[in-house]
Symmetry: C4
Subunit: 249 residues, 4 copies
Amino acid sequence: MESVIVKIDATIKLKNTVMIVGLPGIGNVGKITADYLVDKMSAKKYADIYSYHLPPQVLMNNEAQARLVKNQLYYKKRKQGDILIFTGDFQGLTSQGQYEISYRVLEIAKELDVKKIITLGGYQIGKLVEIPRVLGAFTDDTLRNEAEKLGVLFSKNEPGGGIVGGAGLFLGIGSELFDIPGICLMGETSGYFSDPKSAKQVTKVLLEYLKLDLDTGDLDEKIKEIEDITSRIVENPPDEKREDLGYFG
Amino acid sequence: MESVIVKIDATIKLKNTVMIVGLPGIGNVGKITADYLVDKMSAKKYADIYSYHLPPQVLMNNEAQARLVKNQLYYKKRKQGDILIFTGDFQGLTSQGQYEISYRVLEIAKELDVKKIITLGGYQIGKLVEIPRVLGAFTDDTLRNEAEKLGVLFSKNEPGGGIVGGAGLFLGIGSELFDIPGICLMGETSGYFSDPKSAKQVTKVLLEYLKLDLDTGDLDEKIKEIEDITSRIVENPPDEKREDLGYFG
Amino acid sequence: MESVIVKIDATIKLKNTVMIVGLPGIGNVGKITADYLVDKMSAKKYADIYSYHLPPQVLMNNEAQARLVKNQLYYKKRKQGDILIFTGDFQGLTSQGQYEISYRVLEIAKELDVKKIITLGGYQIGKLVEIPRVLGAFTDDTLRNEAEKLGVLFSKNEPGGGIVGGAGLFLGIGSELFDIPGICLMGETSGYFSDPKSAKQVTKVLLEYLKLDLDTGDLDEKIKEIEDITSRIVENPPDEKREDLGYFG
Amino acid sequence: MESVIVKIDATIKLKNTVMIVGLPGIGNVGKITADYLVDKMSAKKYADIYSYHLPPQVLMNNEAQARLVKNQLYYKKRKQGDILIFTGDFQGLTSQGQYEISYRVLEIAKELDVKKIITLGGYQIGKLVEIPRVLGAFTDDTLRNEAEKLGVLFSKNEPGGGIVGGAGLFLGIGSELFDIPGICLMGETSGYFSDPKSAKQVTKVLLEYLKLDLDTGDLDEKIKEIEDITSRIVENPPDEKREDLGYFG
């Protein structure tokens, strides 16, 4: 089998496209933001992407219906320039896997006239903060300046720092091997659990950048859910011996 | 060498085929059931499947005759629709290996007119039960409903659960990349040892589903054997320092 | 680069060939025996075999001359049938690596008219014995019977046992994918260190089988060396904190 | 994607070329020396080399500008024979990766008329020394003798020693698969931190060998920096619980 299999749902042409990359990762910030966008924009599915670099398993919904783990591309056509969103259940399991999936998806992005890449992620700070800041990295000065105007911080104090996984690779491979400029937006997060509060800050920057007027109430609900769970955990720490029945086969 | 090598024993044509997948795994439920079926139906060998994704070793019988580890396809021709059974010594050692073997075998399955896939596995519950239940997952509503009538439980309480390994991959790849619908039958098992009691419950569902009238006495013997061993272990716990001489080379 | 690169030194034709496989492994029994044979028979180099499945390093002799790690094929032409010997510095690092190297070398073996494969290895028993026995495994009855006459034991008491690594793979792949019958000769060994005493027993069987009349005095010297080292270690256990300077780069 | 992607910046022809290989490794000796040479010789970029065998990440400078991790080839044209320098952010993550990158770069080296390879590395001795010695390994007698005249030590006391990683592979693959002779220069180093003092000794040998008259003052500055850091660490051992914020994504 091919290492990455692309199953295209819709034959479309996009124009002057901005690509958003939001995958599972630190605080799940990228994925929460991408899922929110797909949902609120009523983005349509462009393709399912399967790979032997993803875990060898199916996921089930609560009716016990199973589907193979995958990554997905969604799109939204707009007058101001189309939007392509890349998200998925998992990132590649190995270095080679992450490179191969990113590279293959960027080949598709190039065909879909992607002109800018915005990757999303979490920036782990190991503690809770009231209002997470949004930090940026860039491969192109113009994008950097636009993002800075929206309040994104481009730190001068982290020489040698790195961004690992898809949030980094789409930026780096996009810029150096596909000539597509990009920025990465990272929400500060403790990194200890799924963090919709951080995702909300990233989302607000993204909506402003994309000139989208969408309600963020759903994210507020998720924030409330997580806060309820974390406060319950503080009160009743989990029994570490509990059997985890979530995975079988 | 090719990553998966298929050595075909018999040139046959199958029609309206149901494929059974039973590989080693939790409680060995899938493999025990598949081995039982091959034996009792006097299924014939269709192909041996070798791969560098399987362990690099030979297995010996008690005459010291060695053979390379492998997976196998067996078949049984029937008026009501043919049966193809996939089993083997091991599952692929890596994620890529499990995908590549499943994908290659499904290519063969497609050629052999496989219309439905039934994968078999264990569902680990971490404790012994008197009568293991058979739980199901599905990719197709019709198959789900048929199985439910036979007493298979399709849980509504495990959102996000997953089935790993061949029992999941044949279901997922089969459905999404080969358009073959399927269900997975999982016998509850402690998961601590080879569990013919769980396999027997799965077998009973399977026999009814396939409209096969076969004696399950052999499984009762295996159940007795395991019960003898486990009761002996409870009385005389093994010496953990004993040298394991089973593997050499 | 190709996964396995064969650099042929000599263009030869062999006929009615027996192939000996002796690689590093348990007690180093296979490699000691193969090295002895190459040396005593004045076998000539047929090919060097390089692979990215071997460790990424060079080895140096005591003049600091470096050479890439490799496997090698040697040959000896004889009236009674030619001999091909496969040995090397290391076995493949991964399952895939061991399969790919074995498969590629067997392709060459087939071209060199190999009719029988004899793989050599150690059988770990975890304790010292005065006279190690030679145990066998086989893929072909005739070879089994010939070896049994020479005192090789074919155990009936190890059902499900396995032979891992090259000693197993050349037997299994040779028989099932190249139609070349084979036996494996395993010398009993503690497995705790390089074991020329075990190798000597294997060598004696091999010499008789190949109808070779070679002096085994060199092996006696090696046995003496090892016995001196082990008795010194018993008297003066090594300082575990000593820096190992053998590897650098 | 290809496993190694070469993006050539300059179309040049080199003649009678010496290739220098200095990658990250023990004491970072090879990389410090290669970086120094590139800088002081004002060597020009020949190519960037990307690979899925490198870590899946981007690195950022202190303006938050990101670039994909890579290896690089630089060149300097000279009357006495051109110089090609290979360096990079990381070595390949796996054995296969190190082989594939080395092999691909040597294919380019062959095209650029590389006649000699000098690989650089650290030789870990586990303690600080006042004046690190430079040890050598070789694949060709002439190069060995030339280097010995410059004070390089070719030890007769390390039979079976090995050089792992790029410093070994370029030597071994270069010699055995590309017919390019080479030597390896290794500076003694504690191996506990980046060691410009060791790199300086290697650099001095290299400058003399290449008949280059370059100032080594920059290395003296780096030596001072490291000595300041290490003496500060001795006085104030680091708090091991400090959060490492260098990596995120």
